[in-house]
């Protein structure tokens, strides 16, 4: 990430005049002042901070008078604070999304400078998020600027994706050629038929009159059949190519989404990702395998038709083109309107879907509060608006397009008139006129299509952009070059770990813990203090911003993620069971587990008993559409799932928080059994869950507040002591 921005020459001069040749360590933009956006610079030297704007040094603070640097996230902007001689002062403001991370790094840098270390400048290895060329943001987790990236580059990538399908994509083109040849030949045959045989019925004028007549008719029929066969073949091949491309692209996308880290997947909604895999792929596929070849074929037939009619009669060809300028002009006028109508229609449809999903998934709440009427009203409003919009769009389109079609074909009336005049004077035969008319109609088709091309291309580009966005994303939690695989003993060492999701305000700060294999660590603290974050880091759902996490002395970044996760068992508060049988769900982490192993895991999780009471035992279908299990039952299945692959490290993230006391007892027993000889991290609000923990880790505001055995911490009379007292008292009062 860039921390040394350029100063404009004027600003530089001002800065140099004000400073005594001080070395610039960092230079950041500040782009917000009062209610205006500005272009200023904060210059950090080894002695002071200079606020430079409009060729003037607006303020200078000596590091000797500064302390307590901090960054605050405001709304639409952020601010950089420090204490100046003990008074908190806002040094500058900046546009939040852009510079927040930079200033958070600078806080660290300033602390280093005031600490006397001006030699080791802070270097941020966080990736730069903004394009150095245009300053616009890159696509998340990539180095691709959607603005600067040339279209050619995108299309090159698309071309690479069509590998293996190109031959098939050529098929529509080839068949289009053949089809066209036929369309051009048939009118010639028709002309001969009309002029030489139908109009001129002199049987004796030619030898073998009937034979010739028959041959010509047969040829026309034959060509017609051939063109049908060709379009049949083309349709079949296009279907195969289209499906293969869809399958290929969907798989590619899905694989990529699976590889992406939690942090980047969490930024996108499930609906959005589903939309990309389903709809956007369909749009791209349709464009690539259907529309694109068709456009080429149409273009070709347009030019061929043009040459043919021109060679037949330049004058009549001109008639074909008379209405075209008007039509093009009209299309140009309507273009924006059509686009607007389309987007509006899409947005109304979208709104209906959203409302529907929202209300249906919250149906329990709707019923609980008796708000059915309001729900019906809201939905009716959506569908009404959508229906009105659709009606309006359809009306406009069904008025505009027939009119345009009529205007476009207006030329053919001129041709008819002129052709008839020519016929009258004998300058043209009926067959020739028919041939010309047929060719002219070949031209009209591509012309009408032109109106749709821009819309299709823009729809394609949007969808393709969304797909590329995912495909190009570099997973931010990636395996090392040569990842290690080994059987864990279970020693976990967290060393000076700092981590923040958006890195502006660290969730964890300088956390260090040593855990020996087989120990059970209870993690305690307020909600939002960083407990789950610590566990996410140990599971390597994210990489720490700073610091190292080791398992058995090996940095987890060097361990293959597959190996890492396969030796961890996780039970979360929210249990997700996949659609499938109880057996499938327990086997999830170890697909080749035997039935005996499944039963053993279920027994260990105290789940066997209730599973046996289910109508179909281990084969009972659970999950969204299956048998409804209680929270405690689901939880025990999750515990069985975590146990089946005999993990060396076990993680329990508030696994018992939502359960009643009796169920908790059952689960507690299960947990007691499973935590033997495994390194266990257990987050719990109910401290009773942690009674067997070897050590308790108390996290407070992202720092480790206390760490030791239950007894040690009680003796310390710190946070843990207070928590225990509070819970005991509450329990006593209740009891």
């Amino acid at each position: 990430m860039r921390l040394l921005f350029d100063l404009s020459p004027a600003d530089k001069a001002a800065f140099e005049a004000a400073s005594a040749g001080e070395r610039i360590l960092y230079c950041l933009p500040f782009d917000c002042r009062h209610d205006k956006r500005v272009d200023g610079r904060m210059v950090f030297t080894d002695k002071a901070i200079y606020k430079v704007i409009d060729a003037e040094v607006e303020a200078r603070w000596d590091f000797s008078e500064l302390s307590d640097f901090s960054v605050e996230v405001l709304y639409g902007c952020g601010a950089f604070f420090a204490k100046v001689n003990g008074n908190t002062t806002r040094l500058c403001r900046f546009i939040s999304g852009r510079n927040l991370t930079r200033y958070s790094v600078i806080v660290e840098a300033c602390n280093r400078i005031t600490g006397g270390d001006t030699e080791h400048t802070v270097v941020s290895d966080a990736p730069e998020r903004y394009c150095p060329k245009c300053g616009r943001p890159f696509i998340v987790n990539t180095h691709i600027c959607p603005y600067c990236q040339s279209k050619r580059e995108s299309y090159r990538k698309l071309w690479a994706m069509t590998k293996g399908l190109r031959l098939m994509m050529m098929v529509p083109l080839i068949t289009a050629f053949i089809g066209m040849a036929i369309t051009f030949v048939v009118p010639i045959l028709q002309r001969t038929l009309i002029d030489d045989y139908i109009q001129n019925s002199n049987f004796d004028a030619k030898e073998n009159w009937f034979l010739h007549f028959f041959l010509i008719v047969a040829a026309i029929v034959g060509f017609d059949m051939l063109s049908k066969v060709i379009s049949m073949v083309q349709g079949r091949i296009a279907a195969v190519a289209g499906n293969r491309f869809t399958r290929f692209l969907r798989t590619l996308l899905f694989e990529k989404i699976q590889l992406l880290s939690m942090s980047s997947v969490q930024k996108k909604s499930t609906g959005d990702l589903m939309g990309r895999i389903n709809n956007d792929v369909a749009v791209v596929q349709n464009f690539i395998t259907n529309l694109l070849p068709t456009y080429f074929a149409q273009l070709l037939s347009f030019f061929l038709g043009l040459v043919l009619i021109l060679s037949m009669s330049p004058v009549m060809s001109a008639f074909v083109f008379v209405p075209i300028p008007f039509v093009v002009w009209a299309i140009y006028l309507f273009r924006h309107m059509m686009r607007r109508l389309n987007i509006k229609q899409w947005m109304k449809g979208n709104r209906t879907n959203r409302t529907l999903q929202d209300i249906l998934s919250g149906i329990r709440v709707v019923k609980a509060y008796g708000r059915e009427e309001a729900a019906i009203e809201e939905f009716t409003d959506c569908t009404n608006q959508q229906a009105h919009q659709n009606e309006h769009t359809a009306k406009v389109f069904d008025t505009v397009f027939p009119l345009l079609g009529f205007a476009l074909r207006f030329g053919s009336y001129l041709i008819m008139w002129y052709g008839n005049v020519m016929l009258f004077y004998g300058a043209m035969t009926v067959g020739e006129l028919n041939q010309f008319n047929t060719y002219a109609s070949i031209i009209y088709n591509p012309l009408m299509q032109i109106t749709l091309i821009p819309r299709n291309i823009s729809a394609f580009a949007t969808s393709f952009g969304k797909i590329l966005e995912i495909l190009e994303e570099e997973p931010d939690v990636a395996d090392a070059r040569k990842p290690e695989h080994f059987k864990f003993k279970g020693d976990v060492s967290v060393q000076n770990v700092t981590f923040g999701y958006e890195s502006a305000t660290p969730v964890l700060r300088n956390v260090s813990v040593e855990v020996k294999a087989g120990e059970m660590i209870g993690i305690v603290g307020h909600s939002g203090c960083g407990k789950s974050t610590l566990i996410n880091l140990i599971m390597r759902m994210y990489d720490p911003t700073d610091g190292v996490i080791e398992i058995d002395g090996v940095n987890i970044k060097d361990i293959s993620q597959q190996s890492l996760r396969s030796q961890m068992g996780v039970v979360l508060q929210e249990t997700h069971l996949f659609s499938g049988s109880v057996r499938d769900n327990i086997k999830y982490a170890k697909p080749y587990a035997t039935d005996a192993e499944v039963i053993r895991a279920a027994r260990a999780a105290n789940a066997h008993d209730f599973i046996m009471r289910l109508p179909e035992g281990y084969n009972t279908i659970v999950g969204e559409k299956g048998y409804s299990l209680s929270g405690g039952e689901r939880q025990r299945i999750a515990i069985a799932r975590a146990l089946i692959h005999d993990p060396s490290i076990l993680i329990l993230d508030e696994a018992t928080a939502a359960l009643d006391t009796e169920t908790e007892k059952l689960i507690q027993d299960a947990i007691d059994k499973m935590t033997d000889n495994r390194t266990t991290f257990a987050i719990a609000h109910r401290l009773s869950t942690l009674r067997n923990a070897d050590k308790i880790l108390v996290i407070d505001h992202g720092r480790i507040a206390e760490f030791g055995t239950h007894k040690e911490l009680l003796d310390q009379r710190g946070i843990y002591f207070k928590l225990v007292m509070a819970q005991t008292r509450a329990a006593l009062e209740k009891g």
């Binding site: 956006r37 806002r90 939040s96 806080v107 949007t462 509070a726």
Partner: protein, 194 residues
């Protein structure tokens, strides 16, 4: 409910209180709250608790409870968030700034304006779509700005009163106070999303 009261009772005594204690938010009035400029140009507050205890805060932060629907009412006065992500506690709430003397309300409004930076769009120069991203070039109350938005369908929000909020790719917010008052060209560019 019963549980909550009981628990509270338990927590009210002895040394466990400070762990769970949340400051009771006061209705701030000119009688119990004295706002002054701090040494660093920010706002300090001296507050008199109902118990008569006087507390001084070197720096307080005003935050709007309804920044979008009614930015002028219900302004919380909080301690600043500490750098550790510790959330500053609420000292009190001002229902309306008008009850305070002009200079105090101006000081707080000024600070609010520093916190909520939502330039209002006055003119839309251009709007282009490329590969699913929208590029806007607009004149706002904060000057000329170019910003990028993805997925305009979900990042442009029209309120019931007709105001429009637009969020760019960095999460910054722009408003259109009255879309109908925009010039024809500008309006046409944004109209489809309203």
């Amino acid at each position: 409910m019963a549980n909550a009261t009981e628990t509270k009772k338990v927590l009210d005594d002895s040394d466990i209180t400070d762990l769970f204690e949340h400051r009771v938010s006061l209705d701030l009035t000119p009688e119990n709250a004295r706002f002054t400029r701090s040494g660093g140009g920010l706002i300090s507050l001296e507050v008199t608790q109902p118990s008569g205890k006087v507390e001084f805060f070197e720096r307080i932060v005003p935050i709007r409870a309804f920044p979008i629907s009614s930015p002028e009412t219900f302004i919380a006065i909080r301690e600043p968030d500490s750098q550790m992500g510790g959330r500053g506690a609420e000292i009190g709430m001002i229902e309306t700034l008008d009850i305070f003397p002009e200079e105090v309300s101006r000081m707080i409004r000024d600070e609010l304006e520093h916190r909520y930076f939502t330039p209002a769009i006055q003119k839309i120069h251009s709007f282009r779509e490329k590969f699913g991203y929208c590029y806007w070039d607009v004149t706002t109350t904060a000057g000329r700005v170019e910003f990028i938005m993805n997925n305009p369908g979900s990042n442009i929000r029209t309120l019931e009163d007709g105001r429009v909020f637009m969020y760019d790719i960095d999460g910054n917010c722009f408003t259109i106070e009255n879309p109908a008052a925009l010039d024809k060209h500008s309006y046409k560019k944004v109209e489809i999303y309203l």
